[in-house]
C-alpha cells in the first residue's frame, strides 16, 4: 500500500495544548448570514477552516450562507437538531460544543469540555442529540493538570440541556470506559456510543452494555475487525453504520497469513436497535466512509481515493468513479439520486447516484475541511 493512503493517522495526532495559530486567512464569508432556510428545501451543512459553517442549498448546489464560528476550528463535527433549525458542533480543538441557529448564525449554546480550572478535557468526536432535541451528549476525556505533571482521568458522559445557553454546565455526568468516540441516539432515546465495542447507554442512569461488539465480535471464521469511524453521519436511513476490515480465515487453523481481508458494514438500526453485519468486498482499496442509498439500502457508496458503489448482498461492485482528490465522507440526498463527497480540501463533489457520473463541484468559502462531518436534511 502506498505511503499516501496512511497519512491521516499521523496527521490526526492532536496536540491538546495550543501550539500554532490556526489559518490566518480571512474567510470570504457570504454576507447574507441572516438568510433564513426555507421549509421543505434540502440542505447540506458543514464546517471548515478557518472556522466557517456553510449551508449549501442542494436544489441548485450553491452556498446559501456562511456563518463565522467562535474560537478555534477542529474537528468541525456537526449534528443537526431534530427540528432542523440548529447545528450542534464539536469544535475549538476538540474542546468545546456550540449550538448555532441556522437562520441567524447566532450562537445559542456553548460549553467548554473542561469542567474545572485544573482540568484539560477533550471530546474525541463524541456528540449526539436526543430525539426530542432537549439534550445533547458527549463523552469527555479529562486530564488533571498539576503544576508539574498531568494525570489521565476516567472519561465521563456529560449530558447538557440544550436550553442552557452560553457557558453551559452539564446537568448529569456518568463515568465511562476509555476510547469512546462517535455516537447517535435511537428513536427511543437510547444513546449508542462507539468505542472498542458499540455500547448502548441509558442517559438517565449512565448504565451501559454492549449493543454491538466490534473488537470482541467473536465472529466464527474471522479475526478481529478494524474500524475507523470519525464521521457520525445522521443518515436518512436512520442507521449507525461502521465500515470494517477483517481477516477472513481459510479454515479452522485461523492462519492470518493466508486469510483473505474483507470489507464489510456493521450497523445498528436506530429505529429498532437491530444489529446487522455483512461483508461486501475484498480489501483492495482503502475507504474512510460508506453510506447506504435511501432508495435501496442494499446499495452502498464508499469513498476515499475513489468513489465506489456496491451491491452488498451480491458482494458486487456496481460502479466506480475517479474523484480528483481524496474525500473522507460520502453523503446522500433524501431521494437517493445524488452522492456528495466532503472532507479534506475546500470543495464538495456531487455525483449521480445511479451512474456515478460527476455532476458538479461546489467550492466552499475558506480552507481545509480536515475531518469534519457534513449533514444533509430537509428544513
Amino acid at each position: 500500500m502506498k505511503p499516501r493512503t496512511a497519512t491521516l493517522l499521523c496527521a490526526a495526532l492532536l496536540a491538546a495544548a495550543p501550539v500554532h495559530a490556526e489559518h490566518a486567512s480571512p474567510a470570504e464569508l457570504a454576507n447574507n448570514t441572516a438568510a433564513p432556510l426555507v421549509a421543505g428545501r434540502e440542505y447540506m451543512v458543514l464546517a471548515n477552516h478557518p472556522n466557517n459553517l456553510s449551508v449549501i442549498d442542494l436544489a441548485d448546489n450553491t452556498v446559501l450562507k456562511t456563518c463565522a464560528l467562535p474560537d478555534a476550528y477542529g474537528p468541525g463535527l456537526l449534528q443537526i437538531s431534530p427540528d432542523h433549525r440548529q447545528a450542534w458542533l464539536l469544535n475549538n480543538r476538540f474542546g468545546s460544543i456550540y449550538g448555532v441557529e441556522l437562520d441567524s448564525c447566532n450562537v445559542i449554546f456553548s460549553a467548554n469540555m473542561s469542567l474545572a480550572a485544573d482540568e484539560r478535557t477533550k471530546s474525541v468526536l463524541s456528540l449526539a442529540i436526543s430525539p426530542d432535541g432537549k439534550e445533547i451528549y458527549t463523552v469527555q476525556n479529562p486530564s488533571r493538570i498539576y503544576v508539574d505533571r498531568y494525570e489521565v482521568q476516567q472519561p465521563r458522559l456529560a449530558v447538557y440541556d440544550t436550553a442552557s445557553g452560553l457557558d453551559a454546565k452539564p446537568v448529569r455526568t456518568f463515568p465511562m470506559p476509555r476510547q469512546l468516540s462517535v455516537m447517535q441516539t435511537g428513536a427511543d432515546g437510547t444513546l449508542y456510543v462507539a468505542g472498542p465495542d458499540v455500547y448502548k447507554v441509558d442517559v438517565k442512569t449512565g448504565k451501559y452494555e454492549v449493543a454491538m461488539p466490534i473488537l470482541n465480535w467473536n465472529r466464527p471464521g474471522y479475526g478481529a475487525p478494524d474500524v475507523l469511524n470519525a464521521w457520525p453521519v445522521q443518515t436518512i436511513t436512520r442507521e449507525f453504520a461502521f465500515l470494517y476490515t477483517a481477516p477472513k480465515f481459510k479454515d479452522d487453523k485461523q492462519d492470518i497469513a493466508s486469510a483473505d481481508f474483507v470489507w464489510g458494514i456493521m450497523s445498528i438500526d436506530l429505529r429498532t436497535g437491530a444489529v446487522s453485519v455483512a461483508d461486501f468486498a475484498p480489501l483492495t482499496e482503502v475507504y474512510f466512509t460508506g453510506i447506504r442509498s435511501p432508495k435501496n439500502p442494499n446499495h452502498l457508496f464508499t469513498v476515499l481515493n475513489v468513489l465506489r458503489k456496491y451491491d452488498i448482498k451480491e458482494q458486487k461492485l456496481l460502479a466506480s468513479a475517479d474523484v480528483g482528490h481524496a474525500y473522507y465522507q460520502a453523503s446522500v440526498n433524501h431521494d437517493g439520486s445524488r452522492v456528495y463527497l466532503s472532507g479534506t480540501l475546500h470543495d464538495i463533489a456531487v455525483f449521480d447516484a445511479e451512474t456515478l457520473e460527476k455532476i458538479t463541484t461546489i467550492p466552499l468559502p475558506g480552507g481545509d475541511q480536515a475531518t469534519n462531518t457534513a449533514q444533509v436534511f430537509i428544513r
Binding site: 500500500m1 502506498k2 505511503p3 499516501r4 497519512t7 493517522l9 499521523c10 490526526a12 495526532l13 492532536l14 496536540a15 491538546a16 495544548a17 501550539v19 476538540f94 484539560r120 477533550k122 474525541v124 468526536l125 476525556n141 486530564s143 493538570i145 503544576v147 508539574d148 505533571r149 498531568y150 494525570e151 489521565v152 476509555r178 476510547q179 468516540s181 472498542p196 473488537l215 478481529a224 478494524d226 474500524v227 475507523l228 481515493n305 475517479d322 474523484v323 480528483g324 482528490h325 481524496a326
Partner: protein
Amino acid sequence: MNNKPIACATLTALALVASAPGDAAERQINVPNLIMERCSICHADDLGRLVRISAQRKTPEGWLMTVVRMQQQHDLGLSDDERRALVKYLADTQGLAPAETEGARYVLERRLNTVENFSSEQFTQMCARCHSGARVALQRRTATEWERLVNFHLSQFPTLEYQALGRDRDWFGIATNEIVPYLAKNFAYGDEQWQKWKQTPRAPVAGEWSLSGHLPGRGDFNAVMSVSQRANDHYALELRGNYADGGALIGQGAAVVYTGYEWRGKVEINGVEMRQVFALKGDILEGRMFVADHDEVGADVLAARQDGGASRVLAVQPSYLKTGTATELSIIGSNFDGELVLPAGIKVEKLLSRTPGRIVIRALADKRALGTHQVKVGAAEGGELAVFDKLDRIEVVPPYAIARVGGNGGPAPKVDARFEALAWAKGPRGEYRVGYVPAKWSVAPFNEDAKRDRDVEFAGSIDAKTGVFTPSFAGPNPLRHLMTNNAGNLAVIAEISAGGKPLTAQGQLIVTVQRWNNPPIP
C-alpha cells in the same frame, strides 16, 4: 509494513554547541542557581526537592527536548546561553553511562534509515510508532517517572488511543500495567553503571587526533584534528586532511564534551556546516559527522589521540587489494612506531610517505594473500585489508532507505538517499567482506503498484556514478493520478563488472513526504 524506519515526531533541531567563541556567556552561568530560580516554582516539593527533574537521566539531546518543551509549552523563559548551560549541567549530573547508550546511538548519530528491531513486539507497537524506540531506550527513570510520562503522552495527545495501534487495544491500561513495569525494569533510574561511570576518571581530550572516515557518495578520507581546550569541556577544533579522491578536507569549529564522553562538535568543513556526534572512549573517538541541515549526508568516523594516546592502526584506505594490481594504500592510525608489517603475499612496491598518523605505500598482492587481514605497524595492529582475486557478489547498503520530497517553495528541503555497493569474495574459509566498490546505479519500480503509478518517472532520479538519489519536488503533482505527490516505491539497483561478468544487487527506496519536524532525537 514492518520494516518501517523511524517515524514522525515533533520539535525542531537545535544546536547543542554554540558558535565558537560565543559560548563564554554560557560558561558564566551558575546553573544550580538558575534551576532554583526558574524551575523550582513549578518543580520543588515542600522540602525544596526537585522531585521530577531528579528522577530522570538522559542524553544531552534528551535533556534538550525536555527543556525546550518547558519553554514552548510551559512558558519557561531562558536565553539560548542559559539553555545550553542547563542542558550541559543536567547531562553531566544526570546523564547516561556510555554502556547505557550502546545499541541506541544510531538516533543520536542521526542514522535515520535504521530499521529498529526490539525483542518486545508490544513495546514496538506501543512506544515506537510515533518516534524511535531508541528515544525511549536512551532514558532512565524511576517507575513513577515512567508512569508520569505515559500520563503526559495521553494528556498531550488525546487522540493517541484512537489511532491505528491504539484503538485495537486498551492502550492506557497496557501502558500503565505492562509497559511501565517493563520500562522500570529495563531502563531503571538507579543503574550501577551510572554510579561506576561517575567515579571513572575523565579521559584527556586536548591535542592532536588522527581521524579516518568514510562518506557515502564521496569515499574515504583522513585528517588530523587539532583540539585545544578553551574551558572545561569546551574545545576549539581544526581539521586538515584529504579525501581519497584527492580533494582537501579543511575545517574548523568547536566541540563540547557532555557527561565525560558525549562529544558534540559543530564544524565548518570546506564551507559546509557539519555536526559531530562522537563517543569518547579513552583515546578513541567514534561516531558520525554529518551535514547540519542534511543529516542524511554523513560519514562514519574513527579517530585516535596522538598526544599521549596509544599506538594504533585505525583503517586501511581503500580497504582492499586486487591480486596483481598495484594499488596505493593509506594506513591511518596514531603514534606509529616501528616497522610496517604486511601479511605474506603483499609486497610494498614503494613507500610514498610516512608520518606518525599515516603511511602511504604502493602495494601489490599475490594469491597467497587472499582473504582479510589486519595490518601491523610496530606493536599496533588493526584496520581491515581484504585481498581478492574475483568478486563473488555485491549488496546494496543500506538495503532500505527513505528519501523525502522537498523544496518547491515549501520550508522542508529535499532529503536525499545515498547508496553504496558492498563487495564480497569467497575464500577457502567462506565468504569475506571486501569493501565498497564503484558501481553503476539505476532505479526500477519496486512492485506492481509502483509500476502502475509510474513512480520511477515521478519520484526522482539517481546519479548513475555516485549512487546519490535526489527526490522530486514536494506537493501535488498535476501529472499524477489523483494529483498525488511524488511519493514512490523504488528498487535501487547496483551493477558492477567482475571479470567481465556483471554482478547486480537490489535495495529498496521509499520516497515519501517531508519530515515536518526534526527533533533532536527522532
